[in-house]
Subunit: 212 residues, 3 copies
């Protein structure tokens, strides 16, 4: 694949959305971890892991500078969102479902940007699609591992699966001649819609039950 990936309008426009997604995932991290009896700082660390973990793993595996180490805006955004949610949730009853739709948007954005980063690096397409999934879901996995729970993203309604489908559509539609910018939109939209639909109608993949 020889793609002009610089045409993807992720760079300027999506920086702001990226920050928003990081903040949203930090906030969701605080709420998800709410049943554990962590102290303020522990909660903040879990929220940061949820917000920054997937992208960090992507950057380490691709041997790129880790994004939040180079640009501290991400760290600040995640930190403020986590603190705010922590104190708000002590006063108001914030329903966890409040964050499901922004979280779906964050999943879509992270997955597409992770896939793009891997393609720019020169990774083969299947690796790139998995790198997208890692970027999108590993923050949530890390959060659950730190909370000593089974990762929700492996069990619930289409989460990693939606991310993978969107990453494949993103790559596939570029291969079939679509403009990279449009391909990113198509892949991202698919992830977002699949995830929202899965929450609404409780769509799930077949589960495994070993016959042991």
């Amino acid at each position: 694949m020889t793609l002009d990936l610089s045409k993807i309008p992720l760079d300027q426009l999506m920086y702001g959305i990226s920050l928003g997604a990081v903040a949203m995932m930090a906030a969701a991290g605080v709420l998800e971890a709410g049943r554990k009896r962590f102290d303020l700082f522990g909660m903040v660390v879990v929220a940061l892991a949820a917000a920054l973990g997937g992208g960090s793993l992507r950057d380490v595996l691709l041997d790129r500078p880790v994004f939040w180490v180079a640009d501290q805006t991400y760290l600040v955004a995640a930190l403020i969102a986590a603190m705010l949610t922590f104190f708000l949730a002590r006063i108001f009853a914030l329903p966890a479902r409040l964050f499901l739709v922004p979280d779906a948007a964050g999943l879509a954005l992270f997955t597409i940007s992770g896939t793009k980063a891997a393609l720019v690096w020169g990774a083969p397409w299947l690796v790139a699609s998995f790198m997208g999934v890692i970027t999108g879901v590993m923050g949530g996995v890390l959060r659950d591992v730190l909370c000593n729970e089974e990762p929700l993203v492996f069990q619930g309604t289409l989460y990693a699966t939606a991310a993978w489908a969107g990453a494949l559509v993103f790559i596939g539609s570029m291969t079939w001649g679509l403009d990279p910018g449009q391909a990113a939109m198509a892949g991202g939209a698919l992830i977002f819609l699949l995830r929202v639909a899965a929450i609404r109608w409780e769509i799930a993949l077949p589960r495994f039950t070993a016959r042991l």
Copy 2:
């Protein structure tokens, strides 16, 4: 130590065996994780972590390109093996013990190749032997962490210990003048035989019980 490591016939011959070991570990990962109620994709992610995790950690610690990012054949092999096992296990009652012998072969191969990679990088011998152990066992540790269970490799019959013994024999026999290829065979065979013997006769290290 000044060793001509290029003489080790791991490169050509072992590429195929490597792929087989990755596939086997992915399949074993699916079966081991079978009691959790993960969905298809979650199961696949756990299997990939089991198959690729140890080598990824080795490459990240040694600051080398991560092997499955550079060569997508490993990812494809692990993916096919995981999917196949997933669907076969829904139909047939696959006994987990079926995979113990190939898993021992994979442990031997991964440990020796990890030790070699660290020596080539210039790591001191003790570090190299631990890097071999990390490559061999960390996939299984990651699998168990993702499944929210205590790592089996820390408890069971000689697993990490067999890997370490083999890595030391591999390095030691080269220091004592053995041909690198023969040293690799000797170390690998020791790991395989120790592990199989440990399963057969339930050999285990002394366990720790703190007097608290």
Copy 3:
């Protein structure tokens, strides 16, 4: 910030203290993990993760050579300390509290050295302070994750919080004109004293209880 970080007398003097801290954290790791029924080698791996995990994560995130891969003295120190504790604890009743004070010293040292490494790398101040916290506490987090328990450092009496406060004081007092060496002392002393005071008087941050 344009700081002459080379003036910090961490390099010569603190190498020995570093080794001591690594050894102490490995010993504490063995004791903390004592209730699990790990075998000798599993226990050693958990102790090594506790002693070397935080610094490894720091080096991987900053893309520096991993410290214990380059210099095997750290690995040897951790290994000897873990083995010794393992066998001593089978004979004598070692109280876990025995290690709390040296552990606080290790926390102080690791946090300051991690913050310094990030500043030298060129990381922004907030990132550098978090890198210090990661270096100080992630070993303990990794230990608890491998033992399948909820990370203690997120719950107990001021641990990560003490580390963060000290890192901020270290950076802040350099910005305000203090000599880097004195700033390191001030930050490190604050961490140590906060942690010891927190253990003595059971000081803790407010805990989070989500109103769900």
